[in-house]
């Protein structure tokens, strides 16, 4: 096993262990919330997934800008991998939020600011991936993807503020809320600890998935090179 392979395996192992620990923490250590009961435990994974989604897209923004500056295609490769992973976490965020919403708000879906903004964010990154699919020239693909990654991410906070001027029913646990928020709760100390641990776990999971995806992409490119060499021989 090569060195980089072994590092990757270690990273995978550590991630799995942390996921197990955080699951245990969420179900065993975190206290039971007074009004919502067990269903509140989704909150830890839901928020962490949302955080990782935003992190992934921030990474895409930065690396897109770096690619436009330097022209090194490796940055674009990481940016694309980041979008794929970010999209998965954003969908997880929406799904877990939806599952929580059914018992808490008695509806699967509602067009409140945060939900809507995250949906739009997901659509932007689906569009990003479709743009990549639609362009054949690799250099142009990387350039356009970087530009769209920047435009897309810049629009997310603006979208959020735009929609927020409507009344919101999404609970605001961290920071101030606007209007009536049903299902808000204030966090006790063990809850904060569990949430921070879940944040850390999911962030590690993101980097783990990113590393694996990059390795896959590197191998795929190597295969292409070998194929080209065989064809021309």
């Amino acid at each position: 096993m090569t060195k980089s392979n072994r590092n990757l395996q270690i990273l995978n192992g550590v991630t799995v262990v942390m996921l197990l620990i955080s699951t245990a923490l969420v179900f065993l250590y975190a206290p039971l919330e007074r009004t919502m009961g067990q269903v509140q435990r989704i909150f830890y994974f839901h928020v962490s997934a949302g955080w990782v989604g935003m992190l992934a897209f921030m990474v895409t923004l930065v690396l897109g800008a770096v690619y436009l500056r330097t022209g090194n295609r490796r940055w674009d490769m990481i940016a694309a991998a980041s979008v794929e992973i970010g999209l998965v976490f954003t969908v997880m965020n929406a799904a877990s939020g939806s599952i929580w919403a059914r018992p808490a708000w008695n509806t699967w879906w509602t067009w409140d600011p945060r939900l809507t903004t995250f949906t739009i964010m997901a659509l932007i990154y689906v569009a990003y991936l479709m743009l990549r699919q639609g362009i054949e020239d690799p250099e142009r693909r990387a350039r356009f993807a970087s530009v769209y990654g920047i435009v897309g991410f810049v629009s997310v906070p603006i979208t959020f503020f735009a929609i927020r001027w409507w009344r919101t029913i999404h609970p605001v646990v961290i920071g101030e809320g606007a209007g009536e928020a049903q299902g808000t709760f204030s966090m006790t100390s063990p809850m904060v600890q569990v949430m921070l641990f879940c944040f850390a776990t999911f962030t590690l999971l993101y980097f783990c998935l990113l590393a694996n995806r990059l390795q896959l992409e590197t191998l795929a490119q190597r295969v292409e090179q070998l194929k080209a060499r065989v064809m021309s021989a």
Partner: protein, 255 residues
């Protein structure tokens, strides 16, 4: 960078400095006017080409009318509800026909190869962006000018208020601003016609939200406090995205 000279006595000194080749001493107004000459040249080219054939505007206007018609049948509403969704219908129409206009405008550039010709010119690439953007914006405004009276008749609403016109002007500016940048990318992709809406609509959501809400409130004669935030949002969006597009357009059109 540039230092503006306030004293004409220094002009001889300054010209000496220019000969020596040290830092630029004055604001070179000729560059500034050259930039705007390019912008207006591109804009004039688009307008002139369009007014000869009128194909783009005709297509956009007819399409807008059809969309209004379809909405009329799709949303079978009583009078009161119809008035409350009128702003939404107006903006959906604007968005769809705007997409059409953007697509056609940039596809023509690419297919005729005129974009390559423009790129060869020794001008700042962003001037091309502004020229195209202003042209697209103007086309959208012309279409709106035709559609608004139709709305006035069909929905019996006070659509010709100045404030509503301001919203339409600012909203379409933001949409055309982002749309021009994204359309320049979309024309190179395989599924060209459908790629632009996919790219543009999620990013243009703030424009839609703010414009529809502002328009609804204006039509309902709501107090200024309810309209102002949306106007602010539109203005902020326009500034941010035109700046972003200005910075990124070079990367899109380089070969």
């Amino acid at each position: 960078m540039t230092q503006s000279s306030s004293n004409s006595e220094q002009s001889s000194v300054i010209s000496e400095q220019r000969l020596i080749g040290s830092e630029r001493p004055t604001v070179d107004w000729s560059l500034f006017t050259a930039y705007w000459r390019t912008v207006s040249a591109v804009l004039w080219k688009d307008l002139a080409a369009e007014f000869r054939s009128k194909e783009l505007i005709t297509a956009m206007v007819v399409f807008s009318l059809l969309v209004v018609l379809v909405f009329n049948f799709a949303l079978q509403l009583d009078k009161l509800t119809r008035e409350s969704v009128a702003a939404g219908v107006l903006w959906v129409t604007a968005v769809f026909s705007g997409t059409l206009g953007l697509n056609r405008s940039l596809a023509l550039e690419k297919d005729r190869g005129s974009l390559d010709g423009l790129l060869l010119a020794p001008v700042d690439r962003s001037a091309l962006y502004f020229g195209k953007m202003l042209g697209n914006w103007l086309f959208m405004l012309i279409v709106q000018a035709v559609i608004l009276p139709v709305f006035f008749v069909l929905y019996n609403l006070p659509v010709l208020t100045p404030l509503l016109l301001v919203v339409i002007v600012i909203g379409t500016l933001g949409y055309a601003g982002v749309g021009t940048l994204l359309a320049s990318m979309a024309v190179h992709s395989r599924s060209r016609d459908v790629m632009l809406p996919i790219l543009l609509l999620p990013v243009a959501v703030p424009v839609l939200v703010a414009a529809v809400n502002a328009s609804t409130n204006i039509l309902a004669a709501a107090p200024w406090d309810e309209i102002a935030p949306y106007l602010n949002l539109l203005a902020v969006y326009d500034v941010i995205f035109i700046a972003v597009a200005y910075m990124l357009f070079d990367y899109v059109v380089e070969e």
